[in-house]
């Protein structure tokens, strides 16, 4: 599957099928720091991603000084 990462924007190819949790573990991404979007829909950590899925891993951390 094609996985889009951000900051900076880049694409990696990961063989499916695998769960969202397994994908995040493989890419060493902390689950609480991102949303996983398949196509244009959010997916939960137990969702199974298939080889032909297009997946975006979108970081959610933002902000500067308060």
């Amino acid at each position: 599957m094609i996985v889009v990462l951000r900051n900076p924007r880049r694409e990696v190819e990961v063989p499916g099928p695998m769960s969202v949790s397994a994908l995040l573990t493989r890419l060493e991404i902390v689950p609480e720091s991102v949303l996983v979007i398949r196509g244009d829909t959010l997916v939960t950590h137990d969702a199974r991603l298939l080889d032909d899925d297009h997946v975006e891993i979108r970081p959610v951390i933002s902000g500067g000084d308060q």
Partner: protein, 310 residues
């Protein structure tokens, strides 16, 4: 996973609640959390005029949308920071949201109206840009609120923001800041009331809310904030949260219920002793130039070439 509320297939799981939700029930949950925060801390009273500080990012646009959805009318305030393409995209996202929802947006441009921008201010003061940015925002949000008779300034600070700031304040024992870290700061002479209606929601939930609601927010991180200390604290807290869900909420809510009162007397006293700035009249500790006017004076002396981030 199934939605905790309606048992339909879930699209987001929230480990700290040990729950998952479908899109409709998740947006319902977000609205309820905002209503609860507003009620619990008496943030907004019926008839109050509310000004939302909007940056074009997920939190402030979600906040503006949520207030609208729960029937609290609010106008927006966008501050043009002059951070190159990042600011251009942030402004576009904010204006597009306001237009699509028929909401009123005030705009202040630092460079046009005050003669400096954030990259130039960082250059002039030899300090991190986030410090100049935060100072400018705090001053101008308050100033615009007072000038236009708003009772309340609402900001999009979420649970993660509060946890990261609390961690930083505790690590450095910033007792004055700890005394002011609360979901609502009451209005006092020269200050509008400040409220944070998103404090019961994480930034992952706010990003999810925007995706579900089709809110086109500025996804890219501010280039000037990348790698700063605040983001580092958030990354560490998220590692802790993944191992032990609920840690961030327990840290923050425990401080408010059991720690804050120990520090608030000092900050209340500091607020009572403030004197008007000799230039703009805003409350200041020195009775001379306030921090904003000092920053503006130093930053606006910089050559224009140094202030351009493109």
């Amino acid at each position: 996973m199934k939605c905790r509320r309606c048992k339909a297939p879930a699209i987001i799981d929230i480990p700290r609640h040990n729950a998952a939700f479908c899109a409709e029930c998740f947006t319902h949950q977000c609205r309820e959390q905002v209503k609860r925060a507003i009620h619990e801390h008496r943030m907004i009273e019926p008839g109050n005029r509310v000004l939302v500080a909007v940056s074009g990012g997920k939190d402030s646009l979600a906040l503006w949308d949520l207030l609208h959805e729960i029937g609290i009318p609010a106008d927006g305030l966008y501050l043009g920071l002059g951070i190159g393409e990042y600011s251009d995209a942030s402004g576009d996202a904010t204006r597009a949201f306001a237009t699509a929802h028929g909401l009123h947006l005030h705009e202040v441009d630092l460079r046009e109206q005050y003669g400096y921008d954030i990259p130039g201010a960082a250059e002039a003061t030899h300090r991190a840009p986030c410090g100049a940015c935060g100072l400018s925002k705090r001053h101008l949000f308050n100033q615009v609120a007072l000038e236009h008779d708003y009772d309340v300034v609402a900001t999009g600070h979420n649970l993660d923001d509060e946890a990261a700031v609390l961690l930083g304040n505790v690590l450095h024992w910033e007792t004055g800041y700890l005394g002011r870290q609360f979901p609502v700061l009451p209005a006092t002479e020269g200050f509008a009331r400040k409220v944070k209606p998103l404090v019961r929601l994480s930034e992952r939930e706010m990003a999810a809310y925007c995706v579900i609601r089709g809110i086109d927010y500025q996804v890219e991180e501010c280039p000037m904030a990348a790698g700063n200390r605040h983001i580092g604290y958030k990354e560490m807290l998220n590692q802790l949260e993944t191992r032990s869900p609920g840690s961030k909420a327990a840290f923050v809510s425990g401080f408010w219920s059991r720690g804050h009162a120990a520090f608030s007397e000092e900050s209340d006293r500091q607020r009572a002793d403030l004197l008007p700035c000799v230039e703009c009249g805003a409350p200041t500790t020195t009775g001379d130039r306030c921090a904003f006017c000092s920053l503006r004076a130093r930053a606006s002396e910089q050559p224009v070439t140094l202030r351009t981030a493109r």
